[in-house]
């Protein structure tokens, strides 16, 4: 039996088994799911080399599975994140109902994602894509109360639109190019924007809905924030990257030319969509009061950067997109895990209700701090590398100078919600309600700490990620991708030495930390958050001095025009108008036999009158 089929089988059997085990012992479900995913990834990483292929026939169709360097890169993310997320789930999901349903769907989602990256023909791509979508839909509605159901339906509708678009494109490819293999389609120029322009457009539509690109991003914030956090790490970290995977695939035809002027308009449109997504995601993230929702909007914004990177079509730009893909999975995965841990331990992630958890959950805070530094793109941590690549790509290699300002605006505004997240959950007044909150269990901490260490290391030695990313870029048509282990060089030859920066920061940190700690050590006292200078007033135990509502009101006021654009409203209006429009057709069916008889008569009359025109 083919090794790749074994992996799929492991995941499928695992999915069924966990579902069955749940009826015996719900404690074992999580561990079973974790072990199955671990087994699948071990088999994958040890047994499958890059360039592996497997062809077979099914129902008269030539199907082909395999792994290029490009898909291998995404498989890293899928398996890495899945294993960590399932380890995290064991404790996180403890005590909740319907675990078999949860873990079964979870493993099925992993199967779907893995299937998408290994598919080398359109049929299996579509099938796996649908498996992924449906399994994830089941997880989105896991917390099934009324509102979640409607949000889930929103996700489903957009996914369905994407799937139809993809299906249409696939059918047209079959019709026009007589092939179902992706590589053949690329070779025949199916993704070219010259000949049959609707094919790549439809495919892009399908993929960008998954990547939550403006204006199809409206499903994402609610779906991300309403599903269980341990799943959202995958949902935002890995599954949204399937859209990125697809967009990269479609753009291969552009990259193959390696001429920066290739289809400039397509890239410009997509780049601007990405930029606007980033801005909208950011400005909506910073007005949220729920930490989960904040992270969800932030995910949308970060995917915007990735799309911008893809749209540049230059080496640095694609490198930026691929690097951001990984680093976003890492830090956003960690942050969603942090949010989950807080939810589990403190009961809620509503920032207006809790604050001051830093003394209760120090390790979780550490993870949150490092991940937020990465999210904000601050130097010693990995996020900076992605931001640097993106800016340099836009400034030195792309001709889109206004877009770089849009991206910069978005990433500067990202400082605002980064701070909001840390302050809202961990800093601020220690409140009475959160006095007896405990640190998260160790199995939840381990995955978070692993992700944190990856984020730190990738800041000093980004070459670890550049290496597979460079291979992946070579797989989709770039030649001579250069990279260095721990420094960054742009097109003009200017170098930023990250290793040196990390060392310098480390050295200064140690010196100043020792100085400030030891100077007057005996005379330094750590006091609680109630001992603050509030004009001599002594805050009562029950008084809440946290500042949580309308946190960035000045910014909101200054940027009021931006907030008046609400995509949700536009979609809602569209839906209502469509409903009215189709309501007109429904009126034709009156339920009265005489009306139907009239329709038949009218039909016959029309037929008779225009028979020469119709049957000519």
């Amino acid at each position: 039996m083919e090794i790749i089929a074994i992996i799929l089988l492991i995941l499928l059997v695992g999915s069924m088994l966990t579902f069955l085990i749940d009826s015996f012992s719900s404690k074992l479900t999580g561990i079973t799911a974790f072990l199955f995913s671990l087994a699948a990834s071990v088999v994958f990483f040890t047994q499958i080399p890059s360039g592996y292929q497997f062809k077979f026939q099914l129902a008269g169709l030539d199907l082909q599975w395999g792994l290029t360097d490009y898909s291998y890169y995404f498989a890293y993310i899928i398996f890495g994140m899945s294993v960590l997320a399932l380890l995290y789930s064991i404790k996180y999901m403890e005590g909740k109902g319907r675990l078999g349903y949860f873990y079964g769907s979870f493993l099925l989602t992993i199967l779907g994602m893995f299937g998408v990256v290994i598919s080398q023909d359109f049929v299996s791509l579509f099938i796996f894509w649908e498996i992924m979508t449906w399994a994830s839909f089941l997880l989105v509605i896991y917390n099934a109360y009324y509102k979640v159901k409607t949000k889930g339906v929103k996700y489903m509708i957009f996914s369905a639109i994407g799937a139809y678009a993809m299906l249409t494109a696939i059918v047209f490819i079959r019709v026009h190019y007589d092939t179902l293999l992706i590589s053949e389609a690329i070779a025949k120029g199916a993704f070219n924007f010259e000949q049959y322009i609707y094919i790549p457009i439809f495919l892009l539509l399908g993929f960008s809905i998954k990547a939550a690109v403006m204006p199809f991003h409206v499903w994402a914030p609610s779906a991300y924030s309403k599903s269980p956090m341990s799943f959202t790490t995958i949902f935002s970290g890995a599954m949204s990257k399937m859209g990125v995977f697809g967009i990269g695939l479609v753009f291969t035809s552009i990259y193959l030319g390696t001429n920066p002027e290739n289809f400039y308009w397509v890239r410009t449109i997509l780049g601007w969509l990405g930029g606007i997504t980033a801005v909208m995601g950011t400005i909506y993230a910073l007005i949220q009061t729920d930490a989960k929702k904040l992270l969800a909007y932030s995910s949308v914004a970060q995917l915007g950067y990735i799309v911008v990177g893809l749209s540049t079509g230059t080496k640095l730009g694609i490198m930026a997109a691929l690097y951001l893909t990984v680093i976003h999975a890492v830090f956003k995965g960690a942050l969603f895990m942090v949010a989950g841990a807080v939810e589990k331990q403190a009961g809620t992630t509503d920032m207006t209700k809790i604050s001051g958890l830093i003394r209760r959950m120090p390790w979780t805070f550490l993870v949150a701090l490092v991940s937020i530094i990465a999210l904000a793109g601050m130097p010693p941590v990995g996020g900076f590398v992605g931001k640097w690549l993106l800016y340099e790509a836009l400034i030195t290699e792309s001709n889109n100078y206004i877009l770089v300002v849009v991206v910069f605006f978005s990433s500067t505004a990202a400082f605002l919600y980064s701070y909001r997240f840390l302050y809202g959950l961990f800093l601020g007044q220690e409140e009475k309600d959160t006095k007896d909150v405990k640190e998260a269990p160790i199995t939840m901490l381990i995955p978070m700490l692993i992700l944190m260490i990856i984020a730190i290391v990738s800041g000093a030695v980004p070459g670890l990620i550049f290496e597979p990313a460079a291979k992946a870029m070579e797989a989709i048509g770039f030649q001579d991708v250069t990279w260095q282990m721990s420094s960054l060089t742009n097109l003009w030859g200017d170098t930023t030495n990250l290793g040196l920066i990390s060392m310098l920061i480390g050295a200064v940190f140690v010196i100043v930390f020792v100085f400030i700690t030891l100077k007057g050590y005996k005379n330094t006292k750590d006091v609680g958050t109630k001992d603050i200078s509030t004009s001599g007033e002594i805050p009562k135990e029950w008084e809440n001095l946290s500042f949580q509502q309308d946190f960035f009101q000045p910014f909101q006021r200054a940027a009021a025009p931006l907030y008046s654009m609400n995509m949700n409203k536009i979609w809602k209006n569209l839906g209502e108008n469509l409903e009215a429009f189709f309501g007109f057709f429904r009126k034709l069916y009156t339920g009265n036999g005489q009306t139907y008889a009239l329709y038949v008569v009218i039909f016959l009359v029309v037929l008779l009158l225009f028979k020469d025109v119709i049957f000519s």
Binding site: K525, V527, K530, D531, S533, S535, G536, E537, I538
Partner: protein
């Protein structure tokens, strides 16, 4: 030094009319605040070089937290701005007790305000000084018989310098500041140290006035 004695004394004074000089002297000795000589940080003779330099810096860099009670608050802008320019002595406004060195109390203190002033004083960081301003802080001034205003501030906080007057003009304020600078340089402005040493005595007095005592149990320093 308990309070009843004072009441008796004062009542006596009232009944017999003008007291003799001896009586006043005796009463003043009995009433003397805790922190005039007891609060010496270090003597001028035994001062070391480092302390001399530090005291020099302290003296020339007074961050003032003006607790604007009463009518004296209006004198502070005049003192700080162009006409009198207290900034040339290194004075500077501090907005919070954490950054401040000098607590400037600019007038009468109701019991309600006193509680906040004490809290603010305790939040300041050593070395810290108190300048009390106007006759209200010295002996109650025109509010001597008010049911809600304390009469002598040095029973509740260690006052380093009193500035007399109702209200003292900016010249007097500057005079007081210069006086405080001299005390700091000589190592005599040890109000914070004195407060720490005699905390029980101060607490007792404070709790007599502030009925509903809800301070945190431990004074930080």
């Amino acid at each position: 030094m308990d309070n009843n004695k004072n009441i008796e004394q004062v009542s006596k004074i009232k009944t017999i009319g003008i007291p003799t000089q001896e009586e006043i002297k005796q009463a003043q000795i009995d009433f003397s605040p805790r922190c005039t000589s007891a609060g010496r940080v270090n003597d001028k003779e035994t001062q070391k070089m480092v302390e001399y330099i530090m005291n020099f810096a302290r003296k020339h860099s007074l961050f003032v937290l003006a607790y604007g009670t009463g009518c004296g608050a209006i004198e502070i802008p005049a003192t700080m701005t162009s006409r009198y320019d207290a900034e040339r002595f290194g004075m500077r406004g501090a907005a919070t007790p954490r950054q401040a060195d000098v607590l400037l109390i600019t007038g009468y203190l109701s019991t309600k305000t006193l509680k906040r002033v004490i809290r603010v004083y305790e939040q300041m960081q050593d070395p810290k000084y108190v300048i009390a301003f106007g006759s209200c802080t010295i002996n109650g001034g025109m509010y001597f018989d008010s049911y809600n205003t304390i009469n002598a501030l040095d029973r509740y906080l260690p006052v380093d310098v009193y500035i007399a007057g109702c209200m003292p003009r900016p010249e007097s304020v500057i005079n007081g500041i210069v006086k405080l600078q001299g005390l700091i340089q000589n190592g005599n402005a040890g109000g914070g140290k004195c407060y720490k040493d005699n905390l029980d005595w101060y607490r007792e007095n404070q709790q007599k006035v502030i009925k509903n005592w809800d301070f945190p149990d431990d004074y930080n320093w």
